[in-house]
Symmetry: C2
Subunit: 498 residues, 2 copies
């Protein structure tokens, strides 16, 4: 929960609020906080926001725009921080306040650091021991399907690894430019990176009527069209979905893999929300596991990179910037280029690597930390599951708001109906209609969500993305206030003449 105070009355405020939302839209989530600061919002104190002397109808801004769990009050998992603190300040290894299993893990990690210190550079692909631990973690997760540490590259958060892979795969000019298929709605990292790399963004639309499912017929439509003007080479999938919160079925993953195989596409599986699955009947299936279970025809040929992060899940350790990718079936010459590309930069932050190791190497039954760790983890995931359900329920009681089941991840992406007059007014002001709605919402209620237009949506539909991260009692208020505001907004604009 971020409580915001505006410092005195200054500047053209609406401009600032717009800037805030536009930035949130453009790239998530840093920029939104950045622009909060740049518009002189301050994140301290439960103070009434004022503007030009006028009292606002809300007492605090509820930021539901950013997938930043700890900023919203989620407590860090004790064990992860204990291992990190022990590595950072090894004098603590003598402290009776720290459990023995955390100490053991810290000693083992320190022994793998240059000079036994987290202050030394690691190898560019990450500390070898941690790459081994990540491989072992993946192997356990995928019930024995082998994982090779040589295929694991640690990274500065998943986003860094995603950019690296895109950079590796993208080439060409004009009609031979690389085309990269991304879901719409998408996480804006993809569109921003593709623009930066001069690649062609190929949109495939998720099926909102079918809980944002991924449909291979839609994949084929997008691919066939794209072939006319570029060379499609890559297919990105986000599962569980951001911003859409769906969890792909196993059958759907199989179809996607078959499609990638058939069309010789490199598969990028953004699986950073793999621990965030809530809905009954939903289960996370890793692309890798499904790939291997489909048999050698696929498992020996489909190229895959899968991404994971310590920023999401039950950890929410965004600030540590830790993550990894695993590559499968990559052409050895290309993988050599990847290793080169990774080696040009210095290492990912060692503190993030350490915390990643604690995440992939969790306390086991019988370990001193096991009970507390398990309770904390279950509490975080349990609360998220309750909030996911709450979000869907409250929104779907509101006329004009349609919210798919939040099966996983941390977001709802509800569709909102907007009166024609509101659409007209927005367009007259050069604004996307859902941006117009979100700005009014923020102005009047202090609720900060992100317009769907920044993620992409079907022409003529309007959405917003919000996180389910605020504490439950705040989230309930938010959901109700937002529903009420939408009703009022709809009524007001419906009464006006077109």
């Amino acid at each position: 929960m971020i409580k915001l105070k505006r410092k005195g009355a200054k500047g053209p405020e609406e401009e600032n609020l717009r800037e805030l939302l536009e930035r949130s839209r453009g790239s998530d989530p840093g920029p939104a906080i950045g622009s909060l600061e740049s518009v002189e919002f301050r994140s301290t104190g439960n103070v009434i926001a004022t503007r030009k002397g006028a009292r606002k109808p809300f007492t605090e801004v509820i930021a539901a725009n950013i997938g930043d769990a700890q900023a919203m009050g989620q407590k860090p998992i004790t064990f992860l921080r204990q291992v990190s603190a022990l590595c950072l300040y090894p004098d603590l290894l003598n402290s009776p306040e720290f459990p023995e299993d955390a100490k053991q893990k810290a000693r083992r990690l320190l022994a793998a650091c240059g000079g036994q210190s987290v202050g030394a550079y690691s190898a560019s692909p990450g500390i070898e021991l941690i790459r081994q631990d990540v491989a072992a973690f993946i192997q356990r997760r995928d019930e024995g399907i082998p994982s090779n540490p040589e295929n694991i590259y640690l990274s500065t958060g998943a986003s860094n690894a995603i950019v690296t892979i895109l950079k590796l795969l993208v080439a060409g000019e004009g009609r031979s430019r690389t085309g990269v298929m991304i879901p719409i709605p998408q996480y804006p990292l993809y569109s921003a990176t593709l623009a930066d790399l001069n690649a062609v963004q190929i949109n495939y639309y998720l099926d909102e009527e079918n809980c944002w499912a991924l449909n291979t017929e839609e994949l084929r439509r997008a691919l066939v069209q794209a072939r006319e003007h570029c060379q499609p080479r890559v297919l990105c999938v986000i599962n569980p979905g951001n911003p859409t919160g769906q969890v792909q079925s196993r059958k759907c993953i199989e179809e996607v893999i078959h499609f990638a195989w058939e069309e010789h596409l490199f598969l990028m599986a953004d699986e950073v929300y793999q621990d965030n699955v809530y809905a009954e009947g939903s289960k996370f299936h890793s692309f890798k596991k499904v790939l291997f279970e489909m048999g050698p025809k696929y498992s020996r040929s489909v190229e895959l990179a899968s991404f994971h992060s310590i920023s999401k899940g039950f950890m929410g350790e965004c600030g540590f910037r830790g993550g990894y990718m695993e590559v499968i079936n990559m052409d050895p010459a290309v993988q050599q280029q990847l290793t080169k590309l990774v080696s040009v930069r210095l290492c990912p932050p060692v503190t993030g690597q350490i915390l990643l190791d604690a995440m992939v190497n969790q306390p086991q039954p019988g370990d001193p930390s096991y009970q507390q760790f398990s309770q904390e983890k279950a509490a975080v995931l349990g609360a998220l599951a309750r909030k996911a359900q709450l979000t869907e329920e409250i929104f779907n009681r509101a006329p004009g708001i349609h919210c798919n089941s939040v099966q996983g991840a941390m977001y709802a992406f509800p569709r909102i109906e907007l009166p024609p007059r509101a659409v007209q007014d927005a367009e007259a002001q050069g604004q996307a209609p859902d941006m117009f709605f979100c700005l009014k919402l923020l102005e009047e209620t202090g609720i900060c969500v992100v317009p769907g237009s920044g993620f992409g949506q079907k022409e003529g539909t309007f959405h917003f993305r919000m996180t389910i991260l605020p504490p439950q009692e705040k989230l309930e208020i938010l959901l109700q206030k937002l529903s009420q505001f939408h009703a009022k907004f709809t009524q007001e604009y419906s009464q006006r003449q077109l």
Copy 2:
């Protein structure tokens, strides 16, 4: 000190050693460690290295190729780690083992973090409080010349900020490509980034006969030549120098600033070694301070970006990936682009930001941590100063090795004479002659230094770069062994017929 064990006898080893050095050359320092690992070196245990069953004439590899202080045994500064550990694991705020000033600093920093946690994202340019602290630090360093937190951008190490600025400034195709002037010898980050960005690298040569001084006539020669095929826009200066270890005089800095002013060049001042000044009579002068002291003609117009890092100095906290840049006189429209560019990525690691803050906000006389902090800092810098002098002395006693004074930074870049027959043999093998020398050196003595050809050098001269980081007793052995090896190498190749 890294002690290396080769695992059994495997593979074409010479190939591996070459790979090791080639990577060290290409980008420093991560890759070198990376390739150490990839060739199955292991960094544990003081074990005799063997190859194809044969006993090597050395018992450990002495890695002097990487500017990684803690990997070489330098102890972290207690205060920096205390503040970091307190922020990471706030339960420690109740521990009597931690000094009150570290606790105060940690509380203040935590209050500036989202949700009071280092696990939250910060703003993309960094935590605002830390940007303020950095500005105050610069202002103190520059004796009152004002610094504006809005011009401070925190980064994932200095290298990340350097790449960002180059990305911002580089544009164009063909003859309108941006030209960037860099010193030769240079730190390979520059050449690698310029190649990646499709910019033109404009070499200006440092004056080895004059202790690697920067000469504006040479700058002008390089600029005039470059104008024929590109648009020179940027001038990079590394002071104190990497790999050359010189410290620029104030007069020289003034001349460079005048040159940049005259030629409308954007100045990039890589000042990450600003705390590493050892030679009598040498002093670090920041480009910013000199710029402002030269009067408004310069201080209001010359565009400057200065870079600093927690990886070097007395801290040596490479693994935390922390740093910052300050930009001065940047065109507001360009700076807006910079802010946008920074906002596209998520935040720099918060743990690195925290440690950076502890560095710019050091204990003051009267603070509980002051004495220990001052002692530790002085011990690190004092040891480096002694080792700098030792390096110069021992090398200059060796016939055929010429070593300029290591006035600052962490490196010596001695020139070596190589017999014509050795040069011929190297070339016959497709190797740069100094690479040939460094490989033989590693093979026979276990000493790992980096060939000068990777940094650039005047045609027909040969160098290597080595760090002065090994503990003094090891460094002495290294210097003597290296000198002896060079004498033996010279003798052997001189006796052979051409």
